[in-house]
Symmetry: C2
Subunit: 213 residues, 2 copies
């Protein structure tokens, strides 16, 4: 007898299918029928879990976004250095490339829809809070300049991470991981006075800022 899959688990399962199909066929070709077929269930079951294709895409974006945020938060709390933390956000492996692809696809959804703009806002504000925390930590350990204002300057970090990812997304072959990291370090040096290997040894200093939900 197949085990009973609960509501949240089923939604996550469908989100994975949505991410795969959007990557393989593009968001313009996505249909509920294809999602159901790939998930091995009927369209009426998919419709039971998601009110619409839009709802499905919002949930998929949110799932990937929250996973990326949780990964970054864990690394900050573990006292990882700046580049180690940011590296996990870049499209450096197959999973990262797929996640970024979903982000870009979702940024091309209709801005007039309140569900979409709410999820966009959650994404940018979640990232800014985490980047402010990360910059505060890197400032305290001496990896970046003492003159960095974590809250004020977090948006520059977002520009750098989103910007590098946009280059990789459109020209994967030219951007192996080493090149992404070299550009990242170069821009961290220019914008935050980052100096590689300048973190003080020992336990990390207490972290700044509130945790994101």
């Amino acid at each position: 007898m197949p085990r009973i899959i609960d509501h949240d688990e089923r939604r996550l399962q469908v989100a994975k299918v949505v991410e795969d199909l959007v990557y393989e066929q593009g968001v313009a070709a996505l249909t509920i029928r294809d999602v159901a077929r790939r998930a091995g269930c009927s369209t009426s079951i998919v419709s039971h879990y998601f009110a619409s294709k839009l709802d499905m895409l919002v949930f998929t974006h949110g799932t990937i976004r929250r996973r990326a945020e949780a990964r970054l938060l864990a690394q900050i709390e573990n006292g990882c250095d700046l580049v180690t933390c940011l590296r996990t956000l870049l499209p450096s492996d197959a999973e990262g490339k797929r996640d970024w692809h979903t982000f870009f696809a979702f940024w091309g959804m209709a801005p007039s829809d309140p569900e979409i703009s709410r999820e966009w806002l959650a994404g940018t504000s979640g990232a800014q809070d985490l980047f402010a925390m990360l910059l505060g930590h890197a400032r305290d350990t001496g990896e970046i300049s003492r003159s960095v204002d974590p809250t004020q300057d977090a948006c520059k970090m977002l520009v750098i991470v989103n910007g590098i990812s946009s280059l990789v997304q459109q020209d994967e072959a030219s951007w192996p991981e080493e090149r992404q990291l070299a550009l990242l370090k170069d821009m961290l040096a220019n914008n935050f006075g980052y100096r590689e290997g300048h973190a003080t040894a020992g336990a990390p200093t207490p972290l700044h800022g509130a945790k994101t939900a």
Copy 2:
């Protein structure tokens, strides 16, 4: 009697409709039927001009991209300063926001399709060539540091422009034009030693690099 519309003109007309519909409803909801209805013609006429929905989206992206490239090239050739040139690329007005929306939507198309990856590559290489030209010009007029290597550093300019646009796209209300320009100038200063008002007066020095097609 209605005047005869030639092939290219009709394709441009349809591209405008595609851009509008993608902005209003999102790329996931785009149908050839809706495009035909909005363009005031039958689906078979749309199908005469475009082989597929994909073909339509590739052409629409290419049209907007080439228009942005031509605008930037004209400004470089007219000897406009660095920020004036870059300002026209940012999503600062309604048209710019719509163009950027189409770019992000298109970056979320399926990477496995050769037509799409060809158009992505044309976009990044066209922008890099123009940014290298722009940086060479700004270096010669003294707006940025003499140590900037235009060809090498053009990708940083692309990171900054794409990155700022990604923030605006997802949180328009927080990013009026002045704030976009302030962040742009700040990052130009950090990454290229930009100093506002430091261009030498008089005719611009000869431009660098080859023109893009």
